[in-house]
């Protein structure tokens, strides 16, 4: 029986890791290219989840709603960056403060529009898959599969496309990138939009597994920050690895201890990592490997 429990925790850990990876990647893009610590990311996740539930409520199919939500958040991301964050590029702390203002506005809007009650979205996959004796809900598997697909696509985008390369160059050295003819501001808009889109996708996927409630975004936001730091704060690959570590710690902690204690473990782990290796886990490993 205990091996079943273990496998269950493993699958849950992978699903959490997938969600945190989407969030941490968005935060990494925004922090890496805009120097903004985006506290509004949690509310963007929630926005994705709520809007999905509204679209599904008026009768649309989940598979139609998903791209609509993601595209909607991408557009919102561009608008927010152009209207607000672009005005305070020289003072990163002001970007953080603006994101706090957005938190207050969005939180208020959700409260007025959706109220405090739990909302549920009918799960798109109505199947339970039996793998080697453990039962995995199809929706949890969906979270993992979609995330893996997005990660592969994003990796291809960053490594192979012109815009992706320009993005990496800008993250590395924005002034030099500007001198080389890269339109740095445009790249930053794209980074924020991509981050917002990833948050929206995370929200949609969360809504297939969890009921939607006003504090749904807080957990992933914090764990996303933690993953970002574990990964060395400016490396997309590092953010994903950080997300895996945190997802696993949380899942196994919850299974074998309690959910609060699991969070305590995650925070304690984060504090120790920040103390001993502020440059993150991955950077250290790469250095020794080179």
């Amino acid at each position: 029986m205990s091996s079943e429990l273990f496998l269950q925790a493993l699958v849950n850990g992978l699903m959490l890791a997938a969600l945190y990876a989407l969030v941490a990647l968005g935060l990494t893009l925004i922090f890496g290219l805009l120097d903004v610590v985006n506290f509004a990311h949690g509310q963007l996740i929630l926005l994705g989840a709520y809007v999905l539930s509204s679209i599904v409520d008026i009768g649309a199919n989940f598979w139609v709603a998903l791209p609509l939500v993601v595209v909607g958040l991408v557009v919102l991301g561009v608008v927010l960056d152009m209207a607000l964050f672009a005005r305070v590029r020289d003072e990163p702390i002001n970007g953080l403060l603006i994101s706090l203002g957005l938190v207050a506005i969005l939180e208020n809007a959700f409260h007025v529009i959706y109220g405090p009650d739990l909302r549920r979205v009918a799960p798109p996959i109505d199947a339970v898959i039996d793998v080697a004796g453990i039962r995995i809900s199809g929706n949890r598997l969906l979270v993992i599969v979609v995330t893996v697909f997005v990660l592969v696509a994003l990796s291809y985008f960053l490594r192979r496309t012109r815009t992706g390369k320009a993005m990496r160059a800008t993250a590395e050295a924005d002034e030099a990138a500007g001198l080389m003819g890269i339109r740095v501001e445009r790249i930053r808009h794209i980074a924020f939009a991509a981050g917002a889109g990833l948050a929206g996708l995370a929200g949609v996927l969360m809504a297939t597994v969890y009921p939607i409630e006003p504090s749904l975004g807080e957990g992933p936001l914090i764990m996303g920050f933690a993953a970002l730091i574990l990964g060395g704060s400016r490396s997309p690959l590092g953010a994903v690895l950080g997300a895996v570590v945190i997802g696993m710690v949380q899942s196994f902690g919850t299974t074998y201890l309690s959910s609060s204690l699991a969070d305590v473990l995650v925070f304690a782990f984060l504090i120790l990592i920040l103390f001993w290796r502020p440059q993150g886990l991955l950077r250290a490993r790469l250095e020794t490997a080179l």
């Binding site: 403060l97 938190v103 939180e107 914090i222 204690l261 925070f267 103390f275």
Partner: protein, 351 residues
Amino acid sequence: MKSGSVKAFFKDRTRIGWVAVVVLAVFFATIGDPTYIHLGSLVAIWALWGSSFNLIWGYAGQFSLAQVGFGAVAGYSVAILTARWGWSFWAAVPLAIALTVLFSVVVGYFSLRLSGFYFAIMTLAFALLVVRVISSSELAGRSTGIKSNFDIGTISLGPLEWNLTSRTGGFVLLAFVLLAAVLAFIGRIERSGTGWALNGLREDETLSRSLGIEPLRFRLVGFMVSAVIAAIGGILYATYLRYISPGFFGLPAVIAMIALVVLGGRGFRFGPVLGAVVYIGITQWLEVGGEWGDGVFGALLILLVLFAPKGLLGIDLRRLRRRAEPPPPTDDDEPVAARPVPRRESQGVKA
């Protein structure tokens, strides 16, 4: 030297600040209406929390998100000592403050070597760690919280009786007296060598070190003092609400605390008082925008960051007035900010 007029101006501002605090205290403490007692208590408590964050960020330049966690440690310590173990309130308070300071030293030891984003996240991790530990502790009532002692007694001054029980005018007065004491204390730091050292570290750590200012030492002092202020706020909060639960100390509280300091003006001693008045005023009192109060507050925060990043107290009235006048005819369209300093100074005096 022109310093005379400038100093007089700032002295006036300080005086205005003190007058405002006294007026607020008298207004909220004497009106007797439960609504106003509620509002007054919240204004004083949020002004205290704001002052705690203002000291560590506005003065010392450390964007610490742990302040709410300090409030939680102190508030829960008092609640557990009094409600669970039968201590008297006045015996519990010093111990609770001492525990909070001890905790702040631990947090400081781990975090003060870090800078910028890493410091912010490290302190946030501590704040959330506190909340999670509380929510998983039976002793602290898990996520439902516990009752706290609210009947904290009466002080007799000859024929005068000062009733400190929560939800009375006396309690509001107590909260404002503590706020005033904290503000006076911050003023003392401002004028001292310790204050200059904190200012220097905020502006340029490398330069400060080259002048013999030890970063860790002064920042730790700033951290400990800010923890004491947060502790006072946390204890008052728990006392006022008559119970305490982890929900008070989560991310929303962190955000509100930051926002009200930005709104009032970071680094201004009376900034958090103004920020708290505006925050409570918009969201709880005038109910500006009805159920959209928090949203209005958030929008106000964004507008200030975009157009007056120094906050309400940082708005340069003289410059605004100057802008309102028709621009003097000049040959070149030089923007005000690009003008050489002496000219800008003399213009300021003229206006």
